[in-house]
């Protein structure tokens, strides 16, 4: 026989008690394992969804513009590609498309991703067996989500009768917000495409750039179809219309390409200048008389399809070609002599510095013109003649401001002094534009001058290639202003500037967020076209310039994001802790009960000379076996529990995850962690209970006294009082801090504070129980008093029982008060939220804009206010998206929006916290976004943002104000933001909100407005939705889609509320444990007191009286536990009510608590029945 054998024998002999302990251990382990498995499953399901969404697509090459689709082929040929990649296929992707059922135009869907694909696209499908229809010019494949929205059935598809119209953005290369940028006619409609297949929401059927578990809307057409549709608009400036804007790339095998591989591939990418939206043209003018050819000018002109060269291109060009010179040419609406009432309409004015690299233009005298100074202008001969202007005259130049908002152009004028007149040679034969648009140059009899250079103006498709001025395709009216001589000039000189100013002057007048150089002149001596472009491209690579081509590791990003943003990870485990705590209390209670029974055994072992360590070891051997058995059961229970939770999340609580995509995933690691944590914490709990018996004298143990009623010296009494005080104080401090925190941290702090209060209350109860003599002193006895006094028999046990009940109540009460209900302050009085797939450039708040946007006969009702917000597309970072977001959507709010909230309380959003310091900011925290200058968005000068608290906490992991965070977008922008305010559960969830001027600075190319908050002041007499219906109908091409603000908000909140429901089930579990514990304690205690109760009967107590006493005892334990639990919960939630929007579902709570009391009392009755069943003599004998 050895110690193990003793332990094993004990294990079996006391199997009843041990089974109870094992069940407690099992409960703790099950909850822990379950929580881990749910977390695992969530992460894994999100991960699998990512893998599914991307198929074999590991990386993407995205472009801001279009590139020749052969770039994919050239990429495939590189050794870097061959080394670690297998597939590369070009495609066109438009995220903001809309679709419409051709047979029923009411059936529409916005935010559709339109994919122009080659048949190779389907090779990226993970499941190669799936068979996809071939696409031609008239056919389209849609995914199930689109089919559902457009109500297209498979039967219709098979009969070929399903037809839909697809609208895609026809985004001009000119930024829409620039003066020349088009504001309308930006949508290309592709009508009546036959749906040939509906693909299921699996594999590439759910392809999308951004991670989200929600179903994406996708349609697939042939790339050829899109290229043809766009050939005359977006792709006009390209030499070939076989263009793409994305390359799908697949790595080798199952493992992802490494970041090094990806970087190598990026370096290997060799786009042409055209692919980058740049054009390099030789500008040359020669003149020959008598076979003697002279060169007037001959240089390389580098310009951009976007009209203005980006700063990065300008920089690289200047580095690569130090002799290159910038030009900034701008359109003047009018040039006239001061104080005259007519002038020259629509002239090009070139801002250029003449210096040694390029000869200066010559004056009428033939002498070179001296460098132009500020506020000076040089007119060409034609203009001077037309205006009848001479040197020294002052002229007024009028032009549009380079940036527009709401599509409204503002004119601006500047008065300049004519310092010289540039000589201009009139051609003999004018320019000729062929039918195909080919332009042949003018022919000269007389020697042309340097000023005879139309190349100083960059090409603008639709303008510079127009047959006549009248044909200019511009966003403003030119007709009526053009005179016959202007047409002549256009015929003879086309885009030749009529005036020149200094570069500095031009850049001062026309600088914009898009840039301040329109072209570069590179000396012809720099080399051949090939040389120059090669040198430029090399320079771009050297500078690591972001030129609109981005290689992104989309799968890696997706997998990273699937580590999850879910409140699950934290909250689930945190709340599980309470249940685990309850389970541990139960383990400890049951173990004590068992130990009590075996007190004399402990004493005997001690008496016969077992050292303390060995006694502990024997006990621990036994308890370790019990714990292991319990933990094994717990792990299996945990799996079942997780399965149930996941089943719940897929069915009853599907609101929390938006789509029932979850599948259970059990990792051995989680099981291991669950098992060992369960065993270890239980053994520690048991060891702690054992430790308390260590000091007990042997003879007392032998006589069955496990713990002596401690003689409470004034010292221990003081220490315990001090501990209670410290606990309570810490709780108060924590609550105070919590009001300053947000989200998870706040909830955590509140829960922590509640827990501390709970602990301090329990300690107080314990203290009272121990001070038995004071309770005795009154000398009065009744049944209720007898019941209370029985707690003093074993203060710790009673306290633990109360604790068990208290924890369960606390959990249920505290959690439910975190429930949310939509409030006025969540919507700030906005009735509608609308989003459009394509930007809208008109100001819908004024009649002018309404006329343009909605048609001249339509207008919105008086009192309807629309706040238009700019939108940088990105991931939905709201709680509807379970993925962690790294590229959240950004909204830009304009000054009117900010000012609107100055008026105070009414109709403002609920703020959780802000950095407001001034009175105005406190009144209206939106003011924090205001600043005189736009922010650079760098680490030193981050952009102030306002975020919804939940978005910040869960999705972006930002917990405190003033946090600075870097955000990198796949589209190349990288900005630093600084959090200045948290909104509290508002409909602006899921986006970062910055000021419009910061938005424009950070995202210069994004124009127009895509996000709208709408207020309807007056309720209309006929049908309340008329304005919204009008907007939706008239702006359907832009995919304008409005939703009720309160519905949207409630939808957001339902997510959190659903989580709360799941947590309440945890509370119920805790309650179950509590009841279990209560039953165990009561029954045990009655059994233990058999003798005593028997004696009471012997001296005349009636059975019923005794039963009543036991029930009373039980009721007291329940009531005290309930009281402590509810008090702590109130303590936790009252501050939450004050700062937040907590609201308790009273009915539910009272039902829950009645249930607790009922169950508790039932247990009491059961225990009391034991008394009445036991014959008197038997209970006296044992």
């Amino acid at each position: 026989m050895n110690r193990w054998q003793i332990a094993i024998k004990s294990l079996f002999y006391f199997r009843r008690t041990n089974l109870a302990i094992a069940l407690g251990v099992a409960a703790a382990t099950a909850v822990l394992t379950g929580a881990l498995i749910v977390g695992d499953s969530m992460r894994n399901s999100l991960r699998e969804l990512t893998l599914e969404r991307l198929g074999m697509i590991d990386e993407l090459m995205l472009s801001d513009g279009f590139f020749d689709q052969s770039l994919a082929e050239t990429l495939r040929e590189t050794s870097e590609f061959k080394e670690s990649y297998t597939l590369a296929s070009p495609a066109i992707l438009f995220p903001g498309g809309t679709v419409q059922n051709s047979t029923d135009s009411k059936l529409r869907a916005g935010q559709v991703t339109v994919l122009g694909i080659t048949p190779k696209f389907w090779e990226f499908e993970q499941d190669q067996k799936s068979n996809r229809k071939e696409l031609d010019e008239n056919s389209i494949i849609i995914n199930q989500a689109v089919a559902d929205d457009l109500q297209i059935s498979n039967a219709e598809v098979e009969s070929g009768s399903a037809k839909i119209t697809v609208r895609i953005p026809k985004r001009n290369q000119l930024p829409a917000d620039s003066a020349l940028g088009k504001k309308s006619d930006l949508i290309e409609s592709i009508v009546d495409l036959t749906v040939v297949q509906i693909v299921p929401m699996t594999g590439l059927g759910r392809f999308g750039l951004y991670p989200s578990q929600a179903d994406p809307y996708n349609v697939y057409v042939s790339i050829q179809l899109l290229q043809d549709s766009l050939a005359r608009s977006v792709l006009t400036h390209k030499s070939d219309s076989a263009q793409a804007n994305i390359i799908l790339i697949s790595g080798k095998g199952k493992t992802l390409p490494t970041e090094i591989n990806s970087e190598k591939l990026r370096q290997a990418l060799r786009p042409s200048l055209e692919d980058l939206g740049l054009s390099l043209k030789r500008a040359t003018q020669t003149f020959s008389i008598e076979n003697n050819e002279t060169t007037i000018f001959d240089y390389w002109s580098l310009s951009s399809a976007r009209l203005v060269l980006s700063d990065e291109v300008a920089q690289a060009t200047e580095t690569a070609f130090p002799t290159a010179r910038p030009i900034f040419t701008y359109l003047a609406n009018d040039i006239r002599k001061s104080e005259t009432d007519s002038g020259i309409p629509f002239s090009m004015v070139a801002a250029v510095d003449f210096d040694n690299a390029f000869e200066p233009i010559s004056a009428l005298t033939g002498n070179p013109i001296a460098p132009i100074q500020a506020n000076e202008i040089v007119l060409n001969q034609w203009a001077a003649d037309d205006l009848n202007a001479t040197k020294g005259d002052s002229v007024v130049v009028t032009f549009f401001e380079p940036e527009t908002t709401h599509g409204a152009q503002k004119e601006k004028s500047v008065e300049l002094t004519v310092v010289d007149i540039a000589r201009l040679t009139e051609p003999d034969k004018a320019f000729r534009v062929s039918r195909r648009g080919q332009i042949s140059p003018a022919e000269f009899k007389q020697c042309p001058t340097l000023a005879n250079d139309p190349n100083l103006t960059p090409e603008v498709p639709g303008v510079t290639d127009a047959q006549s001025i009248e044909n200019w395709d511009l966003p403003f009216d030119t007709a009526g202003k053009i005179r016959p001589q202007d047409d002549d000039y256009w015929g003879n000189h086309r885009t030749t500037p009529k005036a020149f100013v200094s570069l500095a002057m031009g850049q001062e007048l026309w600088d914009s967020r898009f840039g301040n150089v329109t072209s570069f002149r590179i000396p012809i001596s720099a080399g051949s076209k090939g040389d120059v472009s090669k040198k430029l491209l090399t320079q771009f690579i050297e500078d690591d310039a972001k030129l609109g081509l981005h290689l992104i590791q989309i799968k890696r990003q997706g997998i990273d994001a699937s580590s999850g943003s879910t409140p699950f990870d934290f909250l689930f485990l945190a709340l599980s802790m309470f249940v685990i705590g309850a389970a541990l209390i139960l383990v400890s209670l049951l173990f004590r009960l068992g130990l009590q029974q075996r007190s004399s055994e402990l004493g005997l072992l001690k008496a016969i000379g077992f050292p303390q360590t060995q006694i502990r070891r024997i006990c621990l051997y036994e308890m370790a076996s019990v714990s292991c058995l319990g933990a094994v059961a717990g792990v299996s229970l945990g799996m079942g529990y997780a399965w149930l939770m996941i089943f719940g999340l897929k069915t009853w609580w599907v609101g929390a995850i938006a789509r029932p995509f979850l599948t259970i995933h059990i990792s051995p690691l989680s099981l291991g962690i669950g098992f060992f944590s369960g065993v270890i914490i239980c053994i520690l709990t048991i060891a702690w209970a054992l430790r308390r018996t260590r000091k007990q004298p042997v003879h007392l143990l032998i006589s069955g006294q496990l713990e002596s009623p401690e003689t409470h010296s004034s010292k221990t009494r003081k220490t315990s009082l001090a501990i209670i005080g410290i606990l309570a104080f810490t709780a108060v401090c924590l609550t105070a801090t919590a009001t300053q925190l947000a989200g998870e941290a706040q909830a955590g702090a509140f829960l922590g504070a509640g827990f501390l209060i709970l602990a301090s209350l329990l300690m107080s109860v314990y203290r009272v129980f121990k001070k038995s003599d004071q309770l005795h002193s009154s000398g009065r006895l009744n049944l209720s008093r007898l019941a209370i006094m029985s707690f003093q028999r074993n203060p710790l046990r009673s306290t633990l029982t109360i604790g068990l009940v208290a924890v369960a109540c606390f959990l249920i009460a505290a959690v439910s008060s975190f429930r949310l209900t939509p409030s006025e302050r969540g919507t700030a009085g906005f009735e509608w939220v609308a989003q459009s797939s394509q930007p809208i450039h008109y100001d819908l708040n004024n009649l002018e804009g309404q006329k343009l946007a909605l048609g001249s006969e339509n207008q919105l009702r008086e009192g309807t206010e629309i706040s238009a917000l700019r939108l940088k597309p990105g991931e939905d970072a709201s709680c509807n998206n379970l993925y962690q977001s790294s590229q959240p959507r950004i909204l830009g709010v304009n000054p009117q929006f900010i000012q609107e909230f100055d008026k105070g309380e009414a109709g403002r959003f609920a703020w959780s916290a802000s950095l407001a310091s001034t009175e105005l900011e406190k009144q209206n925290p939106w003011r924090l976004l205001d600043s005189p200058q736009p922010h650079a968005g760098t680490a030193e000068d981050p952009i102030p943002v306002v975020i919804d608290k939940n978005t910040a906490n869960y999705s972006l992991k930002i917990y405190i104000l003033n946090t600075v965070k870097q955000i990198d977008y796949d589209s190349g922008e990288s900005i630093y933001i600084r959090v200045v305010g948290f909104l509290e559960n508002t409909l602006l969830q899921g986006s970062l909100i910055i000021s419009e001027q910061d938005f424009e600075k950070a995202f210069p190319t994004i124009g127009g407005y895509q996000y709208f908050l709408i207020r309807e002041q007056a309720t209309p007499a006929n049908g309340s939705e008329s304005d919204i219906a009008l907007l939706e109908e008239r702006l359907s091409d832009q995919g304008f889609d409005a939703r009720r603000a309160d519905v949207l908000l409630a939808n957001f909140m339902s997510v959190q509320n659903t989580y709360i429901s799941t947590f309440q089930t945890l509370g119920a579990l805790g309650l179950l444990l509590g009841t279990f514990g209560l039953a165990a304690v009561q029954i045990r205690s009655v059994l233990e007191r058999k003798k005593e109760l028997g004696l009471m009967r012997a001296i005349g107590f009636q059975r019923n009286t005794l039963a009543k006493m036991v029930v009373l005892e039980n009721a007291w334990l329940l009531i005290i536990g309930l009281g402590i639990g509810i008090f702590s919960a109130l303590f936790t939630t009252i501050p939450h009510w004050l700062v937040g929007t907590a609201s308790a579902p009273w009915l539910e709570l009272s039902l829950m608590f009645s249930a607790i009391i009922t169950v508790g009392l039932l247990v009491g009755f059961y225990a009391s029945r034991i008394i009445s069943k036991t014959p008197l003599l038997e209970s006296l004998r044992t």
């Binding site: 026989m1 004990s10 002999y13 004493g603 016969i608 000379g609 077992f610 003879h699 003689t711």
Partner: protein, 224 residues
Amino acid sequence: MPDFVASTVTKEFDTPAGPLRILDGISAELERGQNMAIIGDSGSGKSTFLHIAGTLDSPSSGTVCLMGSDLTELNENQLAQFRNENIGFIFQEHHLLPQLTALENVLLPMVATNATDSNSIQRGKDLLDSVGLSDRLNHRPAALSGGERQRVAVARALIREPILLLADEPTGSLDQANAEKTGQLLLDLQSQHNMILICVTHSSKLASVFQNNKRLVDGRLAAV
């Protein structure tokens, strides 16, 4: 020096009403092979003295020496080992572990330092034989009568061949016949193993067969 020496042992308990002196300078000396019976009123401190003599409790003052070593100077673990090797206890209640058989209960003290080997098992069997229970080796305590249980407890006390055997009212909960039988058994075994036996008893009949006979009154030992 005698094998067992208790010199001026006092014991006070702290009570809410102040210190309560139970033992007030008890001295006793015994050699191996000697035995002593202590009688006294209930509550006079007999058990308290026995606990102190057996190192289960420590005296407020005074010393207890066994075989020349001062037991009051040992620490807890040393005491446990000392008890295990040199002292045997028999309580009024048998305190057998219900989960073990009679033989295992007898062998239990061996496990404190080591696992049991065939020698000790044989010894356990012999002891049970000598207390007349050779046919009850594998019975659990629940299957034994009161007298039998107490005899198992006696055998358990002897398994480590202790020098000092302490018995606290060993026959208190037995019927007359069993009580006499057990009392005699104790004395037989004591002389057979050359031990020191101190036995607390209510029965003056039993006490009278002991070599020494003392009465505990007012915290002191007085001759009967």
